[in-house]
Subunit: 147 residues, 2 copies
Amino acid sequence: MFSKATEYALRATIFIAQKGTEDNKIGIGEISKAIDSPPSFTAKILQALRKNNKIIRSVSGPNGGFYMTEKTRKLPVRAILEAMGENEMLDKCVLGLAKCSETKPCPMHSKYKIIKEQLIELFETKTIQHLADDTKNGDVFINNKSK
Amino acid sequence: MFSKATEYALRATIFIAQKGTEDNKIGIGEISKAIDSPPSFTAKILQALRKNNKIIRSVSGPNGGFYMTEKTRKLPVRAILEAMGENEMLDKCVLGLAKCSETKPCPMHSKYKIIKEQLIELFETKTIQHLADDTKNGDVFINNKSK
DNA sequence: ATAATTAAGGATAAATTTGTCCTGAATTAT
DNA sequence: ATAATTCAGGACAAATTTATCCTTAATTAT
């Protein structure tokens, strides 16, 4: 569905939302270990989420790392997708037509539209906080560690 | 959602279903023009759909080209996806976890599952014939030509 | 048989995505 | 101030996807 970069972005953000606060910042090492992702690549992705402090924040230096504010924790999952440039995916034609609309639809359009709307609804109502809370409660996971 | 290769595969198959019969085979030139795709790349993709005559058939030589039988026209869209190796996509985790299941779900799993099931249902009930018929009727399209 | 037409299939190239590494900048502790 | 830690950002490398081209094989018409 999404690129690997976006998958890492989602998992990393959930982890940061779950553990990272202004006085408990999380380093890239801990993050990539927790979500099972390549550290350097993940670092690059987090830079994008950090732009204009849109989703996450970071500070350099000892005890530095990544964290989130209460405000951005309340952002919908869609905000991460936007930051990762996955907006196109959410209104793209299944058959890959550049312009596929009500007035000039592809043969899958009408049925696919209904499903895509649910996807968008899901990404717009689920907040980062929700996902972090669920994960904290221990009934869902953001990695495949057996322990 | 799908790779470009799969998008071309879907559009090409619909076109072939619409126009290609054993005594009216369609050349790669006409196909790629009709669906607005790169000819050589499309040819390569059609080779895959042709394997074991799974989806389409072809013959070389003058008046050669691609066509379909009544039988494969009745195949669900999913058959094309399978042939293109997109099966993984249809049961992949949104967050990219290698193993995401009822017993060890990611935080999006329960909600996402419901939507994915609808997608699968759609791909399994819509047949190639359906899409070709709709296109033939002229109310839906498989390219972006203005004419 | 020969020539013409069309797909098959391999080699290769271009573009994009994924991933690594290194230097520099920011921050903190001593 | 200096050293140590951690992120920022650029350059580069590997892998994958997308795309092209060329030679061969199959088929048909003459």
